[in-house]
């Protein structure tokens, strides 16, 4: 039988506020355990939540970026369950009146086609603390620093039909929240994580199959693998005559399998009800309009502008706009050197290569956009060749100064003196009579050999264009 996969994603993204959603405790990552957990976060009796304006602002910004409905009046509810990392006994969240309603996100697939994925809603809620299960003689250690950190939960429609689509959606969302500056998106630190609802059904069937929820996946690679493995498991199960149980499953990256998480617990019964400690939140149209006016240029718009202004290939423009930092870096380089295509090639090629190799990000690149722009300028004004430029780039990366200083100190300036180049060309032609004959016999390819030899003899400092012309003239 042919099967069809149905996937919906719930993304939890931590909002980049300085303080918590309902208290004035800090949200900074990595502090000593429980040093950023105040009476409100601990759920001590008698405390009251006071809502952080910035969390509302960020939620609205997100809604505007998705062109979604904005909850002009939103409200908070209590989701009740017992777990030690949630000392209040309930999570304050938004059930009936979320800050963001229906919207959509257009994703790009590998074959270049696009797909619109529906976004059901996005709501504000608080994060829980962390449980540490090791080293406490049979006890569990609780760190409540994270408790009360604002989260935006973004719920998609079950519109994705493959793991690849799910990853494309997650990447796009990740890029978006960072563009509009509402989250640092740091996946290692858990600032951006996702639950995937996965089910399969016979191709053509209208009703959904029973779904399993894969919890807390915090990398793009794991999302793809976890979904593929879960789909395989469900199909095997169904084809063997079994049935899928609706449950929460955990992806184990080490064993590369998903397994049931809450076998012993009974079905969740969260008993949502409106939070009596918080009044409904009303926002004004002026507030929304002002945020809209100050929204940064969004990735899709930026991409279209790059293609238009700098005559880039759509694919390159996509890569360059995948993060706001990279897009801004590129734009500085392109404007300063006046050549968008060369700028794109250097940012996507050499720079990204070094960043990957050293596992660092563009914000901490030792080669700044201004430095790269100067380097490209030196290629364009024929001070150095593209090949030498790579050498200069490496030296810049190592902190040896800017392009001009390196070209000067290493003596890399291109030889523009025709006499000096001519001498090299003459020498090489004289030394290779056999190749000269081949060229004369019509073997054009040999020209490359001569250019290569001359470049080598000049230690890369000859201008390849100039060499090409001169050799051609001399061999005629």
């Amino acid at each position: 039988m042919e099967w069809e996969t149905v996937i919906g994603l719930e993304i939890h993204t931590q909002l980049a506020t300085k303080s918590k959603i309902f208290s004035g405790a800090a949200t900074a990552y990595g502090a000593e355990p429980n040093t950023q957990a105040c009476a409100v976060d601990l759920g001590l009796p008698g405390v009251l939540p006071v809502l952080n304006k910035e969390a509302i602002t960020m939620g609205v910004k997100f809604g505007l970026a998705l062109d979604a409905e904005i909850g002009m009046t939103s409200a908070f509810d209590r989701k009740n369950y017992f777990y030690p990392d949630l000392p209040k006994g309930y999570q304050t969240t938004q059930m009936d009146y979320p800050i963001v309603g229906k919207g959509s996100l257009t994703i790009e697939l590998e074959d270049g086609s696009t797909k619109v994925v529906g976004v059901t809603r996005a709501h504000l809620e608080e994060d829980a603390g962390k449980s540490l299960h090791e080293d406490f003689q049979g006890m569990t250690g609780i760190d409540l620093n994270r408790a009360g950190t604002p989260l935006l939960e973004i719920v998609s429609e079950p519109d994705m039909s493959s793991a690849k689509e799910a990853v494309a959606y997650m990447r796009k969302m990740h890029s978006l929240v960072r563009y509009i500056g509402i989250s640092d998106g740091n996946m290692q630190e858990g600032s951006f994580r996702c639950d995937a609802n996965v089910s399969v059904r016979p191709k053509g069937q209208k009703e959904f199959g029973t779904r399993a929820e894969l919890k807390n996946i915090n990398s793009f690679r794991f999302v793809e693998r976890a979904i593929n493995i879960e789909v395989e498991r469900q199909i095997d199960l169904l084809e063997a005559g079994g049935s899928v149980v609706q449950e929460t499953r955990l992806y184990d990256a080490d064993k590369d399998e998903t397994r049931s998480m809450r076998s012993k617990e009974e079905a969740n019964d969260y008993r949502y009800f409106p939070c009596p400690d918080l009044l409904p939140v009303k926002i004004s149209q002026e507030f929304v309009d002002e945020l809209k006016a100050n929204l940064p240029e969004l990735p899709d718009v930026k991409k279209a502008r790059f293609v238009e202004t700098f005559a880039l290939k759509a694919e390159d423009a996509s890569t360059l706009t995948s993060s706001r930092e990279m897009a801004e870096y590129f734009e500085v380089v392109a404007e300063k050197c006046g050549d968008g295509k060369l700028a794109a090639n250097w940012v996507i090629g050499e720079l990204s290569g070094y960043l990957n190799k050293e596992d660092t990000d563009i914000a901490s690149s030792p080669v700044t956009a201004e430095m790269l722009a100067l380097l490209i300028t030196r290629i364009k004004d024929n001070t150095i060749s593209g090949k030498i430029a790579k050498q200069v780039f490496e030296a810049m990366w190592k902190g040896e100064g800017d392009a001009d200083a390196i070209i000067d100190s290493k003596g890399l300036k291109q030889i523009t003196d025709t006499g000096a180049i001519e001498a090299i060309v003459d020498e090489i032609i004289a030394a290779n009579p056999e190749q000269v004959e081949q060229f004369k016999a019509g073997k054009e390819k040999v020209l490359g050999f001569f250019v290569g030899q001359c470049m080598k003899a000049s230690k890369g400092k000859a201008n390849p264009g100039q060499l090409n012309q001169m050799i051609r003239d001399k061999l005629k």
């Binding site: 429980n34 049979g138 250690g141 009044l279």
Partner: protein, 95 residues
């Protein structure tokens, strides 16, 4: 809607409340009468009434995003039965 013994036991468990066996019929009757009241309200036609999230005709005041709380870990942890390396210790929650 009237609740039976099983319902009461489930509600008590969800709320992590220990209740005495002999008190169950009393709880069942009291809770059932609350639900009956709700059912009466259900009979009202609310078609054109927007839902009320809070009884007061007021809206939430917001605070600026500023860190105002200082670290009071030591103070708070005086109340905890057991702590280690700054963590609150609780009975193990996974097997």
């Amino acid at each position: 809607m009237s609740l039976d013994k099983n319902d009461v036991e489930k509600i008590a468990h969800l709320a992590r409340l220990a209740i005495a066996e002999e008190d169950i019929p009393g709880y069942a009757a009291s809770l059932s009468s609350i639900l009956e009241l709700v059912e009466q309200m259900n009979a009202v036609d609310t078609e054109n009434v927007s839902a009320m999230a809070h009884p007061q005709d007021a809206y939430q005041r917001l605070r600026e995003d500023v860190v105002t709380e200082e670290n009071q870990r030591e103070h708070f942890q005086k109340n905890a039965p057991e702590v280690e390396k700054g963590l609150y210790l609780v009975p193990q929650v996974i097997e």
